[in-house]
Symmetry: C2
Subunit: 210 residues, 2 copies
């Protein structure tokens, strides 16, 4: 009876989500290859055999974790970049501020899932590469649109193509998250925010005449 | 007799170096946690028991690999940044060009050892963090000196502190190496080179009057 109750649709969905959440926490700390299934099922308090009721393999599980992380990150981007009460440049800065707080909240232990798994690319299946790249492309596209808006509004002066700038930001940001973990400090994140937003995007001087 | 010959000082040093070279190749592809000792001794054609003749543990081995990588990278930096026949900005660009060629040579399979192991920070001993950060700090310092020289010579116009610019470059570069692995493309590396050297450092206009 307990067994049937445990596998009721809502309980089952809850357990599945608990596994995915634990996978997200562990993979962002130590990556995919170094994480054993034992560690995940123990943390989720699920018998190892039951794991295969939810996911047919560790790879399928990791794909669910990546999709879950992408959905979480999309909400983070929405919060900052869709806030029409702010100017485009302020929205971009708000994202960096929010993302920095996220890194601090986990005391520099968790990195970016795309960064962690991306480093292991040589030993992961091609399907991982395609999925991770798809996620990264979404982030770049969100930034490109907002940078383009800032350019069109004359809020920033740089004439460098918005797609190039968005790509540049995400390389720098991924690297800064890595350096922040290594230094256990927010300095690398603040450095990228300051130099990218204040020097690379070249904010237009504020017109104080009106 | 063969046994004695195999452990002669030069043979022994050779075997030790072979293990370190193989460790460098594997760790830059898939990191530390996901790599088993078996894989390393097999690739080096060394019996597992003999591994402990050379290194007392996998951690001690990994430290030797990091030091070996740091020495290799120092030579790479020397080649570009110590070439006094070139201007400081041209030397910095030469490094990025050389490093890009390195990533291409390994067909985007190998990343940066500091980047790979840095991502695993949460599950590595504190001694790793200190050593990796020491290596990264050396790279930043080499760049700081050369950027400062370019500023002092009036070759670049930006007044942003050279240490800040060097820190930014290394975040962006580490991120670009990751993205290059993910995209299997040099585009992220070229993007960082172009935007950092041509826009962030703001090269002074060439005086064509003389």
């Amino acid at each position: 009876m307990t067994r049937i109750l445990d596998r009721s649709p809502s309980k089952s969905a809850e357990k599945r989500q608990a596994l995915v959440d634990i996978g997200t926490a562990i993979f962002t700390q130590k990556g995919f290859g170094a994480t054993g299934l034992d560690e995940i099922v123990q943390a989720a308090d699920v018998p190892k055999g039951s794991f295969y009721y939810y996911f047919e393999s560790k790879d399928v599980f990791a794909h669910a974790v990546i999709r879950n992380y992408a959905a979480y990150f999309a909400r983070k981007l929405d919060r900052s970049l869709d806030d029409r009460t702010r100017t485009p440049l302020t929205r971009l800065k708000a994202f960096a501020h929010d993302a920095t707080e996220g890194v601090l909240r986990f005391e520099f232990k968790r990195g970016c899932l795309v960064g962690n798994l991306g480093q292991e690319m040589a030993s992961l299946e091609e399907a991982f590469r395609i999925l991770l790249l798809e996620v990264l492309d979404t982030w770049r596209e969100r930034f490109r649109l907002c940078i383009h808006e800032a350019q069109a509004a004359g809020e920033i002066l740089t004439t460098v193509d918005a797609a190039e700038l968005a790509r540049f930001f995400w390389s720098a940001w991924e690297g800064a998250v890595l350096c922040a973990k290594l230094e256990r400090s927010r300095v690398p994140l603040d450095n990228v925010s300051r130099l990218f937003f204040d020097h690379m995007l070249v904010p237009a001087p504020v017109d104080r005449s009106c």
